[in-house]
């Protein structure tokens, strides 16, 4: 296949950026989207040009490194898939594909399609954990966890911290990401002692990072490669309001 690409090129955080046209030749339908970018980059290197910078690592949809906005949709058109899991057979010969980075104030562009998502790490640092030191844990089966609760905790825990939810949200809100972690820990007995402190601290950190607020549009859920439900956002709201009422 031959494809016409319009790729966002930006030399650095402060540099101006623009969409640049490239032609991707010799694209095989079985290639993944990032492999297609590899091919384009090989060509650019041969022509002595600067290759397109993009993040990727596991290339199987689990590490959360990859991610760009493909024809206006984060991670592209496929449901439940990351950019590295999108295959070129989804496109047709001669298609034009616009590729942009995830955009948000809290995700400054590092270069081209690479953005700095460390704000999400800082949200976790604010409370996305259970405080337990190595060695201090009780025997694992002392606390039974109802299977359904364990399963729904797992549903939320699948988040790969890719940031597509932020990219898709018209407000660049990190609610789905934050809510997923709060729900993961909040559903388990192990997460109860810190449940309310956690939600308050994480929400405050989220605001501090410059993410927007949630208008309940659910674009995040639709693009989330792990199909994490916005029901988790409602849950976060509830926990937060309870925390506010409980505060002395």
């Amino acid at each position: 296949m031959t494809l016409n690409l319009k790729v966002w090129r930006q030399a650095g955080a402060e540099a101006p950026g623009r969409l640049v046209d490239y032609v991707a030749r010799g694209i095989h339908p079985d290639m993944s989207f990032v492999e297609m970018l590899d091919v384009v980059n090989e060509d650019l290197i041969r022509q002595g040009q600067d290759p397109i910078a993009f993040d990727s690592d596991c290339r199987e949809g689990i590490c959360g490194s990859c991610g760009c906005v493909i024809n206006g949709i984060p991670h592209g058109p496929d449901a439940g898939a990351t950019t590295c899991q999108l295959h070129m057979r989804r496109f047709r010969d001669g298609d034009t594909i616009v590729i942009e980075p995830f955009r948000a104030r809290a995700f400054p562009i590092v270069k081209d399609l690479v953005v700095d998502r460390s704000a999400l790490d800082r949200i976790i640092a604010a409370g996305g954990y259970v405080s337990v030191n190595a060695g201090s844990a009780p025997e694992a089966n002392v606390v039974p966890v109802p299977r359904a609760e364990a399963e729904s905790a797992m549903d939320a825990a699948q988040c790969i911290q890719c940031g597509a939810c932020v990219a898709a949200c018209k407000n660049a809100a990190a609610h789905l990401f934050t809510a997923a972690k709060i729900a993961h820990l909040g559903r388990l007995p192990q997460g109860q002692p810190e449940r309310y402190v956690r939600v308050v601290r994480m929400v405050e950190q989220m605001d501090e990072e410059g993410f927007g607020t949630c208008s309940n549009e659910g674009e995040c859920e639709a693009v989330c490669p792990k199909s994490i439900s916005i029901a988790n956002i409602a849950r976060m709201h509830r926990d937060y309001l309870k925390a506010a009422l409980l505060a002395k």
Binding site: V69, E194, Y196, G212, G218, A231, N232, A234
Partner: protein
Amino acid sequence: MGYNRSIRMPSRLLQALSTSVGTKFLIAFTGLCLFLFLVAHLAGNVLFIAGPGPFNDYAHGLVSNPLIYLAEAGLLAVFLVHAARAVMNWLTNQAARPDRYHVRRWARTKNPVSRKSLASTTMIVTGTLILLFVVTHLATFKFGTYYETPDGIRDLYRLQLEIFSQPAYVAYYLVSMGLVFAHLWHGLSSAAQSFGVDHPQWTPRILTLGRVLTVIIAGGFLVLPVYTFFLSRPA
């Protein structure tokens, strides 16, 4: 160790209401109050159909109750809080994405399909226009021409009949009610989410319920001007 350094539980409710989650709670709460006002307002206005007597009596009953000032003040406050918070919130959200996408599509190919709609994307527009509408609406009715009935109370029936005999007014109201429709279409179910309602069975039902209520309320308001218009022209 983490928390020992700084336990930052919000000490006052007010503080809690200023975060992104608190803000949305406020918007949703005031939005729902406004919605309840609309329900009551519509219920009262429906008396128009019953004729001048019941309608004017009802309106008089309202204004002659001393509690009305309290209620009006409350309503004003709710309006202001809703609008002010909504606008501030919108500004925050704009700032959260300073650089726009060159191409942006709704995630329609995805599953689940999002709740994004024309209504959800234009909340700030419909909201602001509603605000302007209310100002003109008050000028037209509340501070409009003072007719008196033979019983010495205000003849709002006549005023409404007069106003809606003019096609321009009817059209203006129809458009405005469209705005209310759009605002509530997304707003009602959204408020449930902001309050933290989530339930595998109830969440989808709430989504539907919100839309049904929207149709009823906005529909009711749509019908009134049209009904009055035809009433005002002798057959």
